[in-house]
């Protein structure tokens, strides 16, 4: 985010024009690409491969959607927030906050299949079931831990895809693809960088491109500390276990300092020091931990009972009216369970988020 923050201070408030050349210089070769897929499926020049965004052929346009939509190209993020959110809700630490909750899926099956409390799975399933959206762009698992963006139309499938991935998926590329089909209302579960790309699309569609951005109805953001490089992660894991045996992964609260990898044979605990070397370069300079450009953001919870209880709940930041409406609907339909938010939770989250912003700014 460093670049974005710097640029936001400039007098020039409009987006800076650029094309593939600038994208390559400022993002891809600079190691800032998040792999979100915002520049993919717009044209035949960029593609996602494994967890990377690659340039297939040379494009000589000086102004392109790829550059405009990329979450790592210069943009006035303050102006973007002002445009998309209620000014009074904006906080410097975690973006717009119109509500803050602790929730979990009421359906135990969803919780079992999902990460933490299964809130995201439950909300997406609900949005599909109620017709708020007719397509959900989610992250599915491909072979060898390689996530892929997939579009799901039925709530049951959506409810099954709730595991956290530690490798980025080109979700926005899948959005770019599906938004040009005959889907009408699309919801996306997005990491902070992906949510920012979608927000940039909303704010600055490039006129020449037939865009389907108006079909975007819901962005459920995911809290994110960083993503790992697929090549490095699989190399790290393959030293210790058979990739096929992995059933899930999680990062417990920071005092544990481990990445827990669940397999049929038990849990492998890998020190975060080792995992740290697998973190994508681009994530180190990202200051958005809570997906500030979403309708609502979901992450792991902190509870006084400790991690063993907390790991089955989520914290939810509601940011927009569509986000708030969905959460209300979930409450009315009994899809989510709510519990009281412990005092100081939002402040702790803000502190953690601010810490990431500071770290990012120092990179």
């Amino acid at each position: 985010m460093k670049r974005n923050e710097r640029e936001s201070g400039q007098a020039e408030k409009e987006s800076v024009p650029g094309g593939q050349k600038e994208l390559e210089e400022e993002v891809l070769r600079a190691g800032l690409c998040t792999g979100c897929g915002a520049c993919v499926n717009l044209c035949p020049y960029q593609a996602s491969y494994r967890d990377r965004t690659v340039t297939l052929h040379h494009c000589d346009l000086t102004r392109g959607s790829c550059y405009a939509f990329c979450p790592r190209t210069p943009a006035d993020l303050d102006a973007l927030q002002q445009k998309l959110y209620v000014g009074a809700d904006l906080t410097p630490e975690v973006g717009a906050v119109s509500g803050f909750f602790i929730t979990r899926a009421a359906d135990e099956t969803i919780r079992r299949q999902a990460q933490h409390g299964g809130t995201v799975s439950a909300l997406i399933a609900l949005a599909l079931r109620e017709g708020l959206i007719d397509a959900a762009v989610l992250t599915g698992e491909g072979e060898r831990l390689l996530p892929r963006g997939i579009t799901v139309g039925d709530p049951e499938t959506a409810a099954r895809l709730g595991k956290s991935r530690f490798v980025v998926s080109p979700t926005v590329a899948e959005f770019n693809r599906v938004s040009r089909t005959d889907c009408l209302r699309i919801g996306v579960v997005a990491t902070p960088c992906q949510a920012l790309a979608l927000a940039k699309m909303r704010a600055q569609p490039v006129a020449d491109t037939e865009s389907g951005i108006e079909k975007l109805r819901l962005v459920v953001g995911l809290f994110c500390g960083w993503a790992l490089s697929w090549r490095n992660l699989t190399a790290l894991l393959e030293e210790r276990m058979d990739l096929a045996a992995i059933t899930g992964m999680d990062i417990p609260p920071s005092r544990y300092h481990t990445l827990d990898v669940y397999t049929g044979a038990g849990t492998n605990r890998i020190s975060l020091d080792e995992v740290n070397s697998c973190v994508r370069e681009s994530c180190r300079s990202c200051g958005d931990m809570t997906a500030e450009f979403s309708d609502l953001s979901v992450g792991s919870a902190r509870l006084p009972e400790g991690w063993e209880t907390a790991r089955f709940w989520n914290q939810v930041i509601v940011r927009t009216k569509p986000g708030s409406d969905l959460l209300d609907l979930a409450r009315r339909k009994g899809v989510l369970e709510f519990r009281e938010v412990p005092a100081g939770n939002l402040e702790k989250l803000k502190a953690a988020s601010l810490n990431k912003k500071r770290t990012a700014a120092s990179v």
């Binding site: 044209c43 035949p44 593609a47 052929h57 040379h58 346009l61 102004r63």
Partner: protein, 648 residues
């Protein structure tokens, strides 16, 4: 082709140099002819193949030049007249056998015809084969016109039989591919039957085994033969002098350079001052004959292509005879009077003569310059690239996309064939191919690159080769790569023929040079027998090809073979037959807008695609579009539509 069986003795016909050589061989009663296609030599075997007849003339396209020479040598050993034909670098391939053949000697008259390519008009080298004659100590003849090409070839068989060794005839592109009038001679009746007499002693040249041992003794005998040849050359009608009795400047020349020299002298109107000694027997040069002409002048200009081959021989002779002939001033390659690389032409020779004699070459009339400017503007700018419908374009497209996805700076080792253009021209290979050397060197280099992993190289290594090249020289290198467990993806771009040189047959086809049905040697089966993973595909299936390549790159671990099979767009079975009628839906075409930016006409660049500047849309050039349908697969807007073409 200008010669046919109806035309007999005395007829004057227009023949291409290569046809004249073929006619000379026919008039000599050649019985076995073998070669490997290569510009500018290919028409010789092609012409001879039309005269093939069981028991009279056997013609083959061999797997490579060395095999061709061995096939022809077997005929010679059996008492038949034989010919092997190749381009300049083919002689390099054959040279290992040649070195031993000159030791054993020959029986039936045997010729090596090498067609060199000064200026590399159709080659990736301008190697000179003349030096092999000196290196191998065999006589060398160089025709300087079309009639002579026929006569010299005819006579070379006699010479070969006289000295019992192979004789080399060297042509160049401008001799082989230009045409001139030739008076035909008679075609002889069939010659004797083949029998390899081998029950005699090693020392018996008639009935002994054909070997180069005892080496020193055989070598001495060979040198006796070459001295005999030099003596014969003293009175050869292929050496001729034209000019004043005591020329101010003596030009010594050979081959097409004789024509350039004639023209240059005439251009300068210097016929009274310059004499031209044209040598047809250029190794060894006839010493007494050349000495006689050297004595008549003080200044000598040697005009030849490419290296100073005659020049060095003449200078050695002059040094040896200096007491008798006196000191001479030599002009040529060594002193920079003429360039030592590239082709010569009348202008270069005229300029050289002009500098030596202080004559200003006549100025080019201004009207030529005006016309040049006028017509140059009318010629559309064209880049060298693959033909419309060429499977290589599709193959390289997938290679490019796969390499870019992989992201580890992988590269392709190129090889000799149309697909070599990927190395030479960026629009052809999309910047993927990075090396280009001899036939089979792609996989050979890849075998080496593929072993550099332990030195930290993690770039995927790909090699390409065509079907004909596969049989020619790729197999040993592939075996090496397999045996050494090199990390290589080997793509065989199988377009079902020796396409670049004109669809000559090769071992993968069911028909030989004479049109007979023959067994096919299956590339996939050969590779499979080496124990490596072999995948076959259609290069027109872009996505499948790309995904296969990416999968093979991810797998790593030794040699993987991908055979991409699709006939050449110009192959007889495809030519003028479109599989699809292509059209561009202008409403869907994104043109130069973001989202496409003319991918088809700016990057893919099949010549069958046009850019309509006024409309800002792509178009199909219906005249040259081959109807392969590949471009519909690259259009991001699905604007390029395929319709099944009606059967014609």
């Amino acid at each position: 082709m200008s010669i046919d069986k109806q035309q007999g003795e005395g007829a004057e016909v227009l023949l291409m140099g290569n046809e004249a050589i073929a006619r000379g061989a026919l008039e000599a009663g050649v019985q076995v002819a073998a070669g490997y296609p290569g510009t500018p030599s290919s028409e010789i075997i092609e012409t001879l193949s039309r005269y093939a007849e069981p028991g009279k003339l056997y013609v083959e396209w061999s797997a490579n030049e060395k095999v061709a020479m061995e096939v022809a040598a077997a005929a010679s050993f059996s008492g038949l007249r034989s010919l092997c034909v190749m381009k300049q670098n083919g002689v390099n391939v054959a040279s290992d056998f040649l070195l031993h053949l000159v030791g054993s000697g020959t029986r039936g008259g045997m010729l090596l015809v090498s067609c060199d390519d000064p200026g590399a008009l159709s080659s990736v080298n301008e190697g000179e084969s003349r030096h092999f004659a000196r290196l191998m100590e065999i006589p060398l003849l160089e025709p300087a016109d079309f009639q002579e090409a026929k006569e010299m070839t005819l006579w070379a068989f006699t010479l070969s039989e006289e000295i019992r060794n192979i004789v080399m005839v060297r042509s160049v592109t401008r001799m082989s591919h230009a045409s001139g009038n030739v008076v035909l001679g008679a075609l002889p009746p069939s010659r004797g039957k083949a029998e390899f007499l081998c029950d005699g002693k090693v020392s018996d040249p008639e009935r002994g085994p054909m070997i180069s041992a005892p080496v020193v003794e055989k070598h001495r005998l060979q040198q006796e033969k070459i001295r005999k040849a030099a003596t014969i050359f003293e009175t050869s009608p292929f050496n001729a002098y034209a000019g004043p009795e005591r020329p101010e400047l003596l030009i010594i020349t050979s081959s097409a350079c004789r024509l350039y020299s004639n023209e240059a002298v005439s251009l300068l109107a210097a016929e009274g001052r310059v004499g031209i000694l044209k040598l047809g027997t250029t190794w060894p040069i006839p010493p007494a004959y050349v000495k006689k002409h050297l004595m008549a002048t003080e200044k000598v200009l040697i005009v030849e292509e490419v290296l100073p081959f005659l020049e060095e021989q003449v200078k050695i002779l002059a040094a040896e005879q200096v007491r008798e002939i006196g000191f001479k001033t030599f002009y040529g390659k060594n002193d920079g009077t003429l360039p030592m690389s590239g082709e010569l032409n009348p202008d270069l020779v005229a300029a050289a003569i002009g500098r030596i004699l202080g004559i200003a070459p006549p100025a080019i009339p201004a009207v030529y310059g005006e016309k040049l400017r006028m017509y140059a503007g009318l010629v559309p700018r064209r880049e060298q690239t693959f033909c419309p419908g060429c499977p290589h374009r599709a193959a390289y497209w997938s290679i490019r996309e796969a390499l870019q996805r992989d992201g580890r700076n992988g590269f392709v080792c190129g090889d000799i064939g149309c697909y070599a253009m990927a190395v030479l021209f960026q629009a052809a290979g999309f910047h993927t191919a990075k090396t280009l050397h001899a036939m089979g060197s792609g996989i050979g280099l890849a075998s080496g690159f593929g072993k550099l992993g332990s030195f930290g190289m993690d770039q995927p290594v790909l090699a390409v080769c065509g079907d004909s090249t596969f049989y020619h020289a790729a197999i040993p290198a592939l075996i090496n790569a397999v045996h050494q467990n090199a990390n290589v993806i080997f793509l065989v771009l199988d377009n079902s023929g020796t396409a670049m040189t004109g669809f000559q047959s090769h071992p993968g086809l069911a028909v030989n040079a004479m049109g007979d049905a023959v067994p096919m040697v299956d590339i996939a089966a050969i590779c499979g027998a080496m124990g490596v993973k072999v995948v076959s595909g259609d290069p027109f299936a872009l996505r499948e090809t790309r995904e296969t390549l990416n999968q093979l790159m991810e797998e790593g671990g030794g040699v993987k073979v991908l055979i991409l099979k699709q006939s050449c767009a110009l192959s007889p079975e495809k030519k003028a037959r479109k599989q699809y009628l292509m059209r561009v839906d202008e409403h869907l075409c994104r043109g130069d807008a973001c989202g496409c930016n003319r991918l088809c006409t700016r990057i893919f660049r099949c010549p069958g695609l046009l850019w309509d500047r006024e409309k800002g849309k792509a178009q199909i050039d219906e005249v040259i579009c081959a109807g392969c349908g590949v471009c519909s697969g690259i259009c991001p807007a699905e604007a390029i539509r395929c319709e099944e073409a009606p059967l014609s």
